[in-house]
Amino acid sequence: MALDQSFVGRTYPPTEPYEVGREKIREFAEAVGDTNPVYTDTEAAKALGHPDVIAPPTFVFSITFRAAGQVVEDPQLGLDYSRVVHGDQRFVYARPVRAGDRLTVVSTIESIKSLAGNDVLDIRGEVRDEAGEHVVTAWTKLVARAAEEA
């Protein structure tokens, strides 16, 4: 069943702040095998002009995707999450995420399309810091495969 077009443009309430920990950044950098010291060594980060260690570019997805849970689990929208695959992902950064950030996300449904029986959902996540400054925007395209396929 196609998703309700009236959800396009719907914005969900801001998430509770996510506090970015330096050990979480280290864990993530190690998990992707990235040894750049800017992720783990405050002095190395400062030498490049950052106030503290920064997170790898895709780190913020864990935060925005959790926020997008408000959308994918919205019972009124009725997305069948067991059929969802990740189609596209894009980030536009105002600055890198860094240790100590307290980030909130506002998720908006940008578009809903039906393509060959698949529901295609574009979700925008605007990430702001404690001061309300824009840090990064994440666009996530989710594709719920047609039920008839199975």
Binding site: A31, G33, N36, P56, D88, Q89
Partner: protein
């Protein structure tokens, strides 16, 4: 934010050093923990096959994280990435052996833009299949 590459030193077509990233089941378990994505298609072969996959597959976001390393290692400071996007075209299939899979990443400067930024187009393949499409980053150079 300080890139170690100068805008004036690159031109359209400049190739970034290519890299190959190995992925084993252990890599995926570790990434699941670090990212919080515990979808069983990334660690449970039985489950993956039940939902029609050939085997356990890597997290798309893991592949996305590896692909940008070619750009951040080149630029020096990952903080100079101003935009990064990909399309997940094919899964990276990770067999249960000590070798796992390889993700091969190449990139080149595709356009010189305003304010010392350049667009870099990235290709990522595994087992000779293109695993990312429309993979592009915009970075601010020195």
């Amino acid at each position: 934010m300080t890139a170690k590459i100068a805008y004036d030193d690159v031109e359209v077509g400049t190739e970034l050093p290519a890299q190959t990233f190995p992925v084993t089941r252990a890599t995926l378990v570790r990434y699941a923990g670090a990212s919080g994505d515990f979808n069983p298609i990334h660690w449970n072969e039985k489950f993956a096959k039940e939902v029609g996959l050939p085997d356990v597959i890597a997290h798309g976001m893991f592949t996305m994280a590896e692909a940008i390393r070619v750009v951040t290692d080149w630029a020096g400071d990952p903080g100079v990435v101003v935009e990064y996007g990909v399309r997940f075209t094919k899964p990276v299939v990770v067999p249960n052996d000590d070798k796992g899979a390889l993700i091969e990443v190449a990139a080149k400067v595709a356009a010189k833009l305003e304010d010392n930024t350049v667009r870099v187009d990235i290709t990522a393949t595994s087992d000779d299949k293109k695993v990312l499409g429309m993979s592009r980053a915009v970075v601010r150079l020195a």
